[in-house]
Subunit: 355 residues, 2 copies
């Protein structure tokens, strides 16, 4: 969850209220299943400037969230029993979604340089898809190295496979400049690029997007028309205005500073309260802290207890598939407003974890 | 498309604007995948009063449209290769959706009393699903007879199969009182009831709903959480207010009168312009006219020409699966504002159809 307290609500309400009052007829009709044209243009421009992704607005499809994106991609390109490389550990919700959809997952381990591409090639050379988080590995936060990026693209080109790049949280990087997206290196057009407004604006919008290869645009059009996946016009138009009027980039800049600060404050409080029990290694970006625990600790039980006490905390070991799981906690810090709150939360968390 | 000109936009804008300004924190967070609680309550009450459907709010799931409903139902209850009874002719979009989803369709013919249930039992006794439009058959507009309703429920009870009732357009009935939904007779809880706000409010909302059997509520919860299918809070809260403040039932009452009038006016103009060429038999309700053509006429070509000229017209024969197709046109009348417009449209249509 992003820092809802820091979102410029008044600006947003003014923009959305204006769109509501002007009452274009478009607002009432069935929305374009591919997305509102001007928003698709804004996204294409933003991705070019900020993520190094060169794409046409026609390649951008607006969806109702990351899982709606996956649904659209699967319906457009996958056949039953297709094998997916899946990061191990990797994004739990995506894992559940793919399994529900009948996909076969080939777990590929992750180390300090991201997905171990060689291992993927060795274990499942013929996979049709690789679902990856190159900017900020989910959940470990590491960045996929340039060498591995090139190896991944080379494999996909040779195998004729698709890389689904989930570029979540790439906007929030606190050390150095953000790395361009994997998609920016994609000469052979094998990468399907996924982004979302859930974290950079707010999740209640239900707006995400996907950039699809030029050769697949028609297929995606047909599928999203058959899924009737259009998102409400009001929010799409509102986001387009929010970007066009410069609020989006201002908000991102402010949030980068704010999140860096909130993370530092929360880490300090956690270290004070937990001492060496939590092993916190800061990653370059993202909205959560990975706090390692000793192998004998039961992170699943701890996370359960923390959730019962109202924390939105996850256990690291649950995100593993085959790889020997590391124990740890995934702690969001976006809504930790100040040092006093950080201290209070850390103490409450410690108490909750001890049951 | 409903009559957008007759929708109380100002009321709606006031309600949505109010919700926007009050800025509940809920509006920004991830929406409840099952739907906004108060809206689910309003829907349950409305269905009890207007459609004879007794259900708890917990059984109501809010979705982003009819196809999102089908997605949720299929993911919750279907397995690959399940056979679906499908009305022949039947709703084209649903047919495409189900085929895309890998469902096997068993076409069941429709006559003046609706779906020929006996034929279904004879042809595909072991089907897992029957997708039906009992109130207003799509596209023929006939009503499923009470005898066939009972036979259908009996078959589903014995076979352990599910009936998906698409109750679209049931609110718009111009002759006699609306028949209660099939679901109102469903003692064995085999009916999954589907409704939508696209026609009774406006399609840009992207809000539909499904009432699921009590025994399936948990499964639906798990699936809609995994699909991350929540709809934006603002519109759900707005619709809940629109119902609670009495605007919804007032609007429905007004629209019933208005649509009856618009239909009569358009039929008159069509008869004047086309004479006997179009065979129009008025059905009890709905938002389109079925205009039959002689067997030698090419309705597909005519509809294509009409669409090229800007009409949203469909060819009846395209909605058939195996059954010997009738030729005809499906003509929406909701936005035909008056006699002059009706005449103009009829003339323009005639010209377009002649190429």
């Amino acid at each position: 969850m992003p820092a809802l307290d820091a979102f410029p609500r008044k600006v947003w309400n003014r923009i959305a209220g204006h769109r509501l009052r002007t009452g274009e007829p478009l607002a009432m009709a069935y929305p374009d299943p591919a997305g509102y044209g001007p928003l698709r243009e804004r996204i294409a421009t933003y991705l070019g400037l900020s993520r190094g992704v060169a794409c046409l607005p026609e390649q951008v499809f607006v969806t109702a969230g990351y899982r709606a994106t996956l649904e659209l991609v699967l319906r457009s390109l996958a056949t039953p029993d297709d094998v997916f490389w899946f990061e191990d550990p990797g994004y739990l919700q995506a894992q559940l979604f793919l399994r529900n959809a009948g996909a076969k997952l080939a777990p590929v381990p992750v180390d300090g340089h991201g997905l171990m591409v060689e291992e993927g090639v060795r274990r499942a050379p013929d996979a049709r898809f690789a679902l990856v988080t190159p900017s900020h590995q989910s959940p470990l936060g590491v960045t996929l190295s340039l060498e591995r990026r090139m190896a991944l693209l080379e494999w996909a080109g040779k195998a004729g496979s698709w890389i689904i790049e989930d570029d979540y949280d790439s906007e929030f990087r606190y050390q150095g400049r953000p790395l361009p997206a994997l998609k920016s290196l994609d000469r052979a057009d094998r990468v399907i690029y996924c982004g979302t407004f859930s974290k950079v604006m707010f999740p209640g919008l239900r707006l995400s997007y996907v950039v699809v290869p030029l050769g697949a645009v028609q297929r995606f059009h047909a599928v999203c028309a058959s899924l009737n996946a259009g998102c409400p016009y009001l929010f799409q138009a509102g986001v387009a205005d929010f970007i066009a009027q410069g609020h989006f980039s201002r908000h991102l800049k402010r949030m980068r500073l704010l999140y860096a600060e909130r993370r530092a404050v929360f880490v300090r409080a956690l270290e004070q309260v937990f001492g060496n029990r939590l092993q916190i290694e800061l990653q370059p970006g993202g909205l959560h802290i990975v706090a390692g625990l000793a192998a004998h600790e039961d992170d699943v039980l701890m996370a359960e207890r923390a959730r019962a006490a109202g924390f939105g905390i996850k256990s690291l070991s649950s995100w593993y598939l085959d790889n020997e799981p590391q124990r740890g906690l995934l702690l969001g810090f976006a809504n930790v407003a100040d040092a006093a709150m950080a201290k209070r939360l850390a103490l409450k968390l410690k108490k909750a974890m001890e049951g």
